[in-house]
């Protein structure tokens, strides 16, 4: 019964959309005819934008009827000045598919939805038809025209890759700057001081052996501080235990030093490609750090799985929740890093907890162990 009422309502809404399509179609034709005069262009672009809004509504309605989500085909046109935006709007293959839909939906769709509404309302007269057949046909036509075509899919893919590549390059450049700064202010400076101390000791060793000995002890301590800073730096670039034991061992080693008990549940049959292991490791490390420092949790769980050519990571805690992905935060950096592999990071953290961070990266395991 609910389904019947729903279909009647959808048929009614479809009539409205079709009527609006017809109006927009006329506007677009008028705009095209008036392109030589200056009013034509704004009319055309106005119609194109309005069509997007209408098509988005139709996508939702048709999705209810066909029982399947219909993806949006539009590219992001937000960058640049007005002229550039209009240019990229005109180049978007989705704009032209929208125009075709406008034509089909404004004429055939209008007829289909009016008769379809009657059919849905008066099942008795149309007893020889399957229920709501015409509403369904209309929805399938819309799906065919409004889901991303091959061209749109490629264009969307290119846009995504351009963005993630730029992010990767930026992240790497920032990382290299950080390493350079750490080396310059840390180990390098200490080695300079070490050299000076040794030189001084050499000078006074005959005149003041006790003083030289003090300087040598100082040099040794500067040496071990430089080494300790280099160790920390190396851990931040690529933790040695990750190279030795892979993601499995590195995550176990990571939680060993956590003051809050974190349970690990790992099922990785084989080693994964090194860049993926590294990105996933730093993702887990960021989550575990947040868990220890900010969550107020009493326990946590790290789960790693490799199923159907995807690495799936979950970090869960029973803390106070309310974690958001802000642009300055470490999780956003991890998200950017994962997007280089088409990976995703999502945070589910209602106020009051619990917090679940899910990372998902497509990757094939290495062939040899």
């Amino acid at each position: 019964m609910f389904r019947r009422v729903q279909l009647v309502l959808i048929a009614g809404a479809s009539i409205g959309i079709s009527a609006a399509s017809l109006v927009l179609l006329l506007l677009a034709v008028l705009g095209a005819a008036l392109v030589v005069v200056w009013v034509g262009l704004p009319l055309l672009f106005g119609a194109a934008y309005a069509t997007r809004g209408l098509a988005t509504t139709e996508r939702r309605l048709a999705a209810i009827v066909v029982g399947q989500r219909i993806a949006s085909p539009y590219l992001d046109h937000s960058g640049g000045n007005l002229f550039r935006r209009l240019q990229s709007l005109a180049r978007d293959p989705a704009t032209w598919r929208d125009a075709v839909w406008l034509l089909v939906n404004g004429i055939a769709g209008l007829v289909l939805s009016i008769v379809g509404l009657l059919e849905a309302l008066l099942g008795v007269i149309f007893w020889w038809l399957p229920p709501a057949l015409l509403v369904r046909i209309n929805a399938h036509i819309s799906r065919a025209l409004l889901s991303p075509g091959t061209k749109s899919e490629l264009a969307l893919r290119v846009q995504h890759l351009t963005q993630s590549r730029a992010d990767t390059v930026d992240t790497q450049a920032a990382e290299i700057r950080r390493i350079e700064r750490d080396l310059h202010d840390g180990a390098q400076a200490r080695l300079v001081a070490l050299g000076m101390t040794l030189g001084l000791a050499e000078e006074i060793v005959h005149g003041d052996p006790a003083g030289a000995q003090r300087l040598l002890a100082e040099a040794r301590s500067a040496n071990s501080q430089a080494l300790s800073e280099l160790r920390d730096l190396v851990r931040g670039i690529h933790p040695p235990v990750l190279a030795d034991r892979g993601l499995d061992g590195a995550v176990q080693a990571l939680v060993l030093s956590s003051p809050i008990p974190v349970q690990v549940d790992i099922d990785l049959p084989r080693r994964l490609p090194a860049p993926v292991e590294s990105a996933a490791y730093f993702g887990v490390a960021e989550c575990v750090t947040n868990l220890i420092k900010h969550s107020g949790a009493s326990k946590g769980v790290v789960r790693l799985r490799h199923v159907e050519e995807r690495l799936h990571v979950e970090v869960i805690d029973d803390g106070r929740g309310g974690v958001i992905l802000d642009d300055a935060g470490g999780l956003r950096g991890i998200q950017r890093r994962l997007s280089a592999f088409d990976g995703t990071l999502a945070v589910l953290s209602p106020p009051g907890g619990p917090t679940v961070v899910v990372m998902d990266v497509p990757c094939e395991p290495l062939s040899t162990h």
Partner: protein
């Protein structure tokens, strides 16, 4: 005392040989890769082995694996593992057979020669010599539910130094207390951890293992 040494960097290998021989150790063989290390350990059955974690051919934890494998074949073979970095995971794996005779130190500790030599002797004698960095991380995360939760802060301090491989006299000097006070603390530690009367060295090892929660 006979030593087998494994270190792939020639500079460090020569330095270690010189250092050990200057302190009356006899380096019977010095190798530079994992497979020959295992062979050398089984052939020579040295009094103590000094092993770098990262060795050819894989340049990962080859040395550690060879040392653990050698201790499976020759239980209790004393091994001192050196590394550019310390990992608690590896400390646990080395200690997992509950036999003692194990050391795990940062390479830079070698620069304190007398302490390093003391650590080698400690390990050769069946004791433990854990790097202060391992001990410190463990200290920071231990809750009250661990077996050492019932110890007083002072006793924990003493136990931490025991884990690093210090003798009672070294502990006394470090904490500015008398050696008698140290042995009072150690006896109290043994009692609280429920370690029965036995040879003192063995109890020391067991107490340290309890502390490191292997």
């Amino acid at each position: 005392m006979r030593v087998v040494l494994a270190e792939d960097l020639a500079l460090l290998r020569d330095g270690l040989i010189r250092l050990l021989e200057a302190h009356e150790f006899d380096v019977v063989e010095a190798v530079d890769n994992g497979p020959s290390l295992l062979r050398a350990l089984v052939n020579h059955r040295p009094d103590v082995a000094v092993v770098d974690v990262r060795l050819p051919p894989t340049f990962t934890d080859e040395g550690l694996r060879a040392a653990i494998e050698a201790r499976v074949q020759l239980p209790g073979l004393p091994v001192l593992v050196l590394s550019q970095y310390v990992e608690q995971l590896y400390a646990r794996e080395l200690l997992a057979d509950w036999r003692g005779g194990v050391g795990y130190l940062l390479k830079d500790r070698v620069s304190n020669v007398s302490q390093f030599v003391e650590a080698v002797r400690q390990v050769a004698g069946g004791g433990t010599a854990m790097d202060p960095e391992v001990v410190a991380t463990l200290l920071s995360r231990r809750g009250n539910d661990s077996p050492v939760g019932g110890l007083t802060p002072r006793e924990r301090e003493v136990l931490g130094l025991m884990a690093e491989g210090r003798s009672n006299s070294a502990i006394a000097a470090k904490l500015f207390i008398t050696e008698k006070a140290v042995s009072k603390h150690t006896n109290s530690i043994f009692a609280r951890l429920g370690l029965p009367q036995s040879e003192d060295d063995n109890r020391r090892v067991l107490a340290v293992l309890a502390y490191l929660q292997v």
